[in-house]
């Protein structure tokens, strides 16, 4: 199988190829925008957060990543919503808790739950919008072409880039151990016992990979100079530069204003 794209190739990289307006934005603009929106959601009333959520979702659909969005949101938000409902709606006693016999509900609690949920949903969709429309390699190019030191650019993009080989390998390890008799579908105890057989090869391989990668990158003179020369850097339009500067100035001002008020 070595060198062959597996049947699951590309599944764990969240990037959805496309040519939408958002795809074409400079990755740095998107990164700064993400930062600004994340900070802003903490200052907005729930309605504002909901607006951001809806807008980000709409942009996601326009960018062609609608399905990925819905799947990811359901997977993440549904269990979270249920947990919140149980804790804040049912379990915590509040002044307005009404007893319905079998269970008791608090309208305050539900309101609180709704506010948390919409904030998380807004943060999640905005982040999704960033990762589904920005290939980590393009982000790296953008960082490099702006003179960001290669070491830092590497730190930012490598988790995204290495996610895919990592999960491919995790699957291979799971298969290998199951095929030699490891029970992964049995009782909780059996599964807990199986854990080292899955984790140890993954960690050992990751460590030896890290060692190997250091040599490979060194051999190709990575970080031998304080900057990298990049060909075909992503386009950076003047208005994007202005937008980034504005957002970066607005960010501390907003936070200061919120703290002062």
């Amino acid at each position: 199988m070595i060198g062959q794209p597996g049947p699951h190739a590309g599944k764990s990289l969240l990037y959805v190829p496309g040519d939408s307006f958002i795809h074409r934005l400079n990755p740095l603009t998107k990164l700064v925008g993400l930062l600004w929106l994340a900070a802003t959601t903490f200052m907005l009333p729930p309605e504002g957060m909901a607006a951001i959520f809806v807008a980000a979702l709409a942009f996601g659909v326009i960018a062609g990543a609608g399905r990925a969005f819905v799947r990811r949101l359901l997977f993440t938000l549904l269990p979270f919503a249920i947990a919140l409902f149980v804790i804040h709606g049912l379990l915590i006693e509040r002044a307005d808790t009404i007893d319905y016999g079998l269970f008791s509900l608090s309208a305050d609690g539900l309101g609180y739950m709704g506010r948390i949920l919409v904030r998380v949903a807004a943060l999640l969709t905005v982040s999704m919008l960033f990762v589904t429309t920005t290939h980590p390699a393009i982000l790296l190019k953008a960082l490099d072409s702006h003179g960001v030191p290669p070491g830092i650019a590497y730190l930012i993009s490598s988790p995204l880039l290495l996610l895919e080989p990592f999960s491919t390998r995790a699957r291979a390890i799971r298969d290998a151990q199951q095929a030699r008799g490891l029970d992964l579908n049995g009782s909780w105890r059996a599964r807990a016992k199986a854990f080292p057989a899955l984790l140890i090869p993954l960690v050992t391989l990751a460590l030896s990979d890290l060692d190997h990668r250091a040599s490979v990158l060194d051999g190709r003179a990575f970080r031998a100079r304080p900057f990298r020369v990049v060909l075909d850097a992503p386009e950076d339009r003047p208005y994007e530069r202005w937008l980034r500067r504005t957002l970066l100035v607005a960010l501390p001002l907003q936070i200061g204003l919120a703290a002062w008020l």
Binding site: L161, E164, P165, D209, G219, F227, L231
Partner: protein, 285 residues
Amino acid sequence: MALIDIDNLVFSYGPKAPRVLDGVSLSIERGERIAIMGGNGSGKTTLAQWIAGWLPRPGMEATTGHVHAKDRPWQDWTALERAQTVQFVGQIPMQQFSGFAFTVFDEMVFGPGNLGLEPDEIRRRAETVIDLCNMRHLLDRDPFTLSGGEQQRLSIASALIMQPEALVLDEPTGNFDPESRDALLGQISLLPRDLTIILCDMALKPALAIAERFVLLDEGRIIADGAPDEILDHPLTAEIFGLPAVMEAAGLIRDAGHWPTSAKLPMTPSAVVEHFVRRAHDAQG
């Protein structure tokens, strides 16, 4: 001044670990095509890494002896200088990619970008290696979706674009099916003559296709160093690498007492076949 000069190198991966290299001395001149042949656990990959300057690393120094490149120990070289002198290509192509590239082209120009070359110069270099490694139709592909043979060609292209004086190949075709192996060997044999090539392998076929000097490594020691036929004649060769089937058959026939006592066993498969054909002809005539 030799390009690489190894003097009585003794090395192990830790104070308690067994010796992997046990007194290796070897001198490699510019433009040589040399095959370092060894079986499993002979130490050839470790030796390849010393030749490429991947070793020594902090905590992994030579017990005794040294490796000099152009009369200077590797420790004294900067990564920048080293990358432009020797390049290493290993067994598993995917492990050699930078991981930072979206396309084949970007993977190739990753190294030159680190050297800080002018964009025009990078493009010029890319043009050269694209043709040399037959990559033009693949430039826009994602490196991870290429076939094994294509990936290894990309690894070699990414190494050559650094314009090194020497290329170290560690079992470059070890993971391939015969078809991809032969194609890649053909591509390697077309590389410019002034490039020094050090091939570490345990299969005879790649070595016979590329090298004109053979070094036989066993248990961390060099036990023979010379022309290919000297090594093929060495008693350990058959045991470690296995002979091509027709040569093995010739040996069995000799052991059965059906080989003319005066004649030596021929050293290449084709010579053996010739011999068989001649004798079959004689028997019929």
